[in-house]
Amino acid sequence: MAINYEQLIADLIKPLVMNPEDVMVKKFSEENEVLTIQVIVNQDDLGRVIGKNGRIANAIRTIAYASASKEGKKVQINIDSL
């Protein structure tokens, strides 16, 4: 079964934030085995999802990267608020 990256990332981020209803995860292109995933969170949650020096964002990226490598893919994650 193929991995649902949107679900995977949303399930990681939702417990962490104050406004889970504002979490949006959208998969964009899938060219040359490279996935681009856009994550939108509430302005108030951006700090928590990115973390000090981007540490949490990088942890999320590392986890997603490992998941993708299982399928021979690469994944790029952009995190932003509205």
Partner: protein
């Protein structure tokens, strides 16, 4: 359980207020009215208590479980609490190397994320350790062998040796291992991700 007590005019605002104050989503907060204030409907206000209704350790467990499910990885997770403030998740999967990653990078990522998540739900500072397939124990043994070997070489040659960059936990293992050696001393040098250990000969 983390909780706060506050006064509020309208009960409709209580959950919003508690969520902002506790910095926790509403689903994980229970509101209890402690006291109604005011006479004959004038100057009405409520004294309420807001409590987090989820155990941080369980939330960590659930998040890990979901993660492995989403990754299509079969995983067995064991949770242990040591002392008041130490949580240990021991994980065994059919994809251990993938989840550990190069030099344990993915494992570090998972641990950092779960530690951060758990600490968002508690006032206490929790130490959260995640181990996959006994990696940490093996790594400790490897580092101790490396430390001993390098230290012997330094003691013999009297030339300082630099080790690869390591995280604080790994550097600590080497420091501890060599702390009682008479011929060598250990120091950490460099900043951030390039912080590494140097084993130096002691002059006698």
């Amino acid at each position: 359980m983390k909780s706060i007590v506050f006064d509020i005019k309208s009960m409709n605002d209580a959950l919003d207020y508690a969520s902002k104050e506790l910095r926790i989503q509403k689903d994980f907060i229970d509101i209890n009215v402690l006291e109604k204030k005011g006479v004959l409907g004038l100057m009405k206000s409520y004294k309420v208590e807001a409590t987090i209704n989820v155990y941080p350790a369980d939330l960590g467990y659930q998040t890990l479980k979901k993660l492995f499910l989403n990754m299509n990885v079969d995983a067995k997770i064991e949770m242990k609490q040591r002392k008041d403030n130490q949580l240990i998740y021991t994980i065994e999967t059919d994809e251990n190397p993938l989840l550990i990653g190069k030099n344990g990078k993915t494992l570090e990522g998972i641990q950092l994320f779960i530690r951060n998540l758990i600490n968002a739900y508690t006032d206490q500072h929790m130490i959260v350790l995640v181990d996959i397939g006994g990696y940490r124990e093996n790594r400790k043994k490897q580092l101790e062998i490396l430390a001993t070997k390098t230290a012997k070489e330094v003691a013999r040659s009297k030339i300082a040796a630099k080790l690869e960059p390591m995280n604080a936990y790994e550097r600590r293992i080497v420091h501890m291992k060599l702390s009682d050696w008479r011929d060598v001393s250990t120091v950490s040098e460099g900043e951030g991700s390039s912080r590494h250990l140097v084993i130096k000969p002691k002059r006698r």
